[in-house]
């Protein structure tokens, strides 16, 4: 009879604090908890009373890695209240800056945060000593994503150029064309990234996930379409809270989201891939097939390949958008504030980010609700941990602990959006 607790202590510095506890009794995993101690950040509360047009700049500060997701969800929500529709080149520019965020975030996560787990390195730095060319490629890819964000957003952290109705300033065709050459390199590097990730060794684990993503009839989703799940949900964005709910749990200061009447679900690259495979460009589908993926991937560790396939999409899409671009006459659509409620949802690199706002006739925010991707994935992460540990009780404590952390990293979680990791400790009790 053996009992043990695998514990990942929290680390206290800067923005997020989280940890992990897995309890095992009589060789049965009885509990797995992703502990989040990040103090609630009250963004929803301090949005109240602010002007509607401040929402994108305030919410961008929730996350340094995915500010575009927050900005896009907030501007689309506000635009639905104001009754304006951002189309044509302005919409394309919005997709382009979003592609920049995906390239930056995915390149960083694949190579520097997740790949070391698979290759047996403690971190990206140690990986770089043995694979300098691979890490050099990662940094160049990430920089190109950054450059797209800086080019359109004005600066790297908390971009300032996006606004309700469009942008404060838009580039000329010639200015935008300067991004083409680096993005063409990035597309080739993304295809190499798919091959690189496909060559890794993956733990054997699959789960029957409920995949939740946006789905759009004409495009791989970034910020428009229906909220869709492979278990039967297909609803307009404003109905999100009718089908999904958040609850407090004692071990986390972040809320846990679940599908009403069902439970955990997964959002992020694997969900988008499964729900929207048909919308991927042929070059990304071909890369996925050559990497051994079907149209759905159920092994969470293979999310690293799916992320690489999405890198191919993001680079290809960015180039397509640049080719089609014609500078719009005005950088934004003007609108007069009016009372109402609006909803926005966009595909952050790590999953859907839902916003709801109510504003009054003067354009003041009366109420705000933000559901970030990591709070949605927490239940799925805990279920994965439970299953993974149960299947791998034979592993040494060190190895098991390492792979628990890897299991969490499959989700590229952002706990300050909803943590910062992690020092690991295994406490084993024999009795």
């Amino acid at each position: 009879m053996k009992s043990k607790t695998i514990k990942v202590d929290m680390l206290a510095r800067v923005e997020g604090e989280g940890g992990l506890t897995v309890k095992i009794k009589n060789d049965q995993v009885i509990d797995a908890k992703l502990d989040i101690f990040e103090p609630p950040r009250f963004f929803e509360a301090f949005l109240r009373g602010r002007k509607y047009y401040e929402a994108p700049d305030i919410t961008a500060r929730i996350c340094g890695i995915c500010p575009i997701a927050y900005q896009t969800s907030s501007v689309t929500a506000m635009e639905s209240i104001l009754g304006i529709s951002v189309d044509g080149p302005l919409r394309d520019l919005r997709r382009l800056i979003y592609c920049g965020e995906w390239i930056e975030s995915h390149a960083l996560h694949i190579y520097l945060l997740h790949a070391p787990d698979f290759l047996g390195y403690e971190d990206g730095l140690r990986l770089a000593k043995d694979y300098p060319e691979v890490v050099g490629r990662a940094l160049k890819l990430k920089k190109i994503g950054n450059d797209v964000m800086v080019f359109l957003g004005g600066r790297e952290i908390h971009p300032i150029n996006m606004r309700v109705g469009g942008f404060y300033k838009v580039p000329t065709k010639k200015e935008l064309d300067s991004l083409k050459e680096p993005l063409q390199w990035a597309l080739e590097a993304s295809l190499e990234t798919v091959k690189f990730t496909a060559g890794l060794n993956f733990p054997d684990m699959e789960r029957d996930y409920e995949f939740v993503s946006l789905r759009h009839p004409d495009e791989y989703p970034l910020f428009a379409g229906h909220i869709y799940s492979n278990k039967g949900i297909d609803i307009p964005i404003p109905d999100f809270l009718k089908f999904f709910e958040e609850e407090h749990v004692s071990h986390s200061t972040s809320l846990h989201a679940f599908v009403k009447g069902r439970g955990d679900y997964l959002t992020g690259p694997m969900a988008r891939f499964a729900n929207c495979y048909d919308q991927l460009p042929k070059i990304a589908q071909k890369a996925a097939k050559e990497a051994g993926l079907g149209k759905t991937c159920l092994n969470p560790f293979k999310s690293i390949i799916v992320r690489a396939v999405e890198l191919v999409f993001a680079c290809h899409e960015a180039l397509r958008l640049i080719d089609n671009y014609q500078m719009p006459e005005k950088p934004y659509i003007e609108a007069v504030p009016r009372e109402g409620e609006g909803h926005g949802c966009s595909e952050a690199p790590r999953g859907i980010c839902y916003h709801r706002y109510k504003i009054d006739n003067n354009g003041l925010i009366k109420d705000a609700r933000i559901v970030p991707p990591t709070s949605q994935n927490q239940k799925a992460i805990e279920k994965d941990l439970k299953l993974f540990v149960q299947k791998n009780l034979h592993l040494s404590d060190d190895k098991l602990t390492w792979q628990c952390e890897q299991t969490v990293r499959n989700y590229d979680p952002c706990i300050s959006c909803s943590c910062h990791f992690l020092k690991l400790k295994v406490i084993r009790e024999n009795f």
Binding site: I65, K142, K143, R409, D412, H420
Partner: protein
């Protein structure tokens, strides 16, 4: 896509809404106001790896950050990082999806992508709560760091 590089770079690191953690960004913003030639100022980065792209090809780079090491608030640390790693205890770990300053410098060293000179200032903070007040001792230390960087800039031929 890259514009010609200025030889001098100052990067302020931190979170502008987290009291003492904002001090690096505030110092960078103050130097920016001086509008000095041959100089680029960056107020905040998304994660450490961004630094490697930012500092390549520069003559001299200053990085300013808040540290939490258990010392008295306002204590100033200064490191010349070109040949010696900076302490992980001060500028290390890290998040699930970000690289620390220590790691970024070591990654730059491994890949032979460091600038010609790199100075790191750390100011010991105490309060990093969202929306909190900056600790007076941290504010005073920031003035001293600002003066030192300005003097170092002058000595570098800026």
């Amino acid at each position: 896509m890259d514009s010609p590089r200025q030889p001098f770079l100052i990067v302020g690191i931190g979170n502008e809404y987290r009291a003492d953690d904002s001090i690096g960004i505030r110092i960078a913003a103050r130097i920016k106001k001086a509008d000095l030639p041959q100089m680029e100022i960056i107020e905040g980065i998304s994660d450490g790896t961004s630094l490697i792209a930012l500092w390549q090809g520069r003559r001299k780079v200053w990085i300013v950050d808040c540290v939490l090491s258990g010392n008295s608030p306002g204590k100033i640390f200064r490191f010349e990082a070109l040949h010696v790693p900076i302490p992980e205890k001060l500028f290390g770990k890290l998040s699930t999806h970000a690289f620390s300053l220590t790691e970024a410098i070591e990654l730059g060293r491994t890949l032979n992508q460091l600038p010609r000179e790199i100075i790191v200032y750390g100011i010991e903070g105490r309060n990093i709560q969202t929306g909190g007040e900056i600790t007076p001792a941290v504010r005073d230390a920031a003035e001293l760091v600002l003066e030192r960087i300005m003097a170092e800039l002058k000595n570098s031929g800026q």
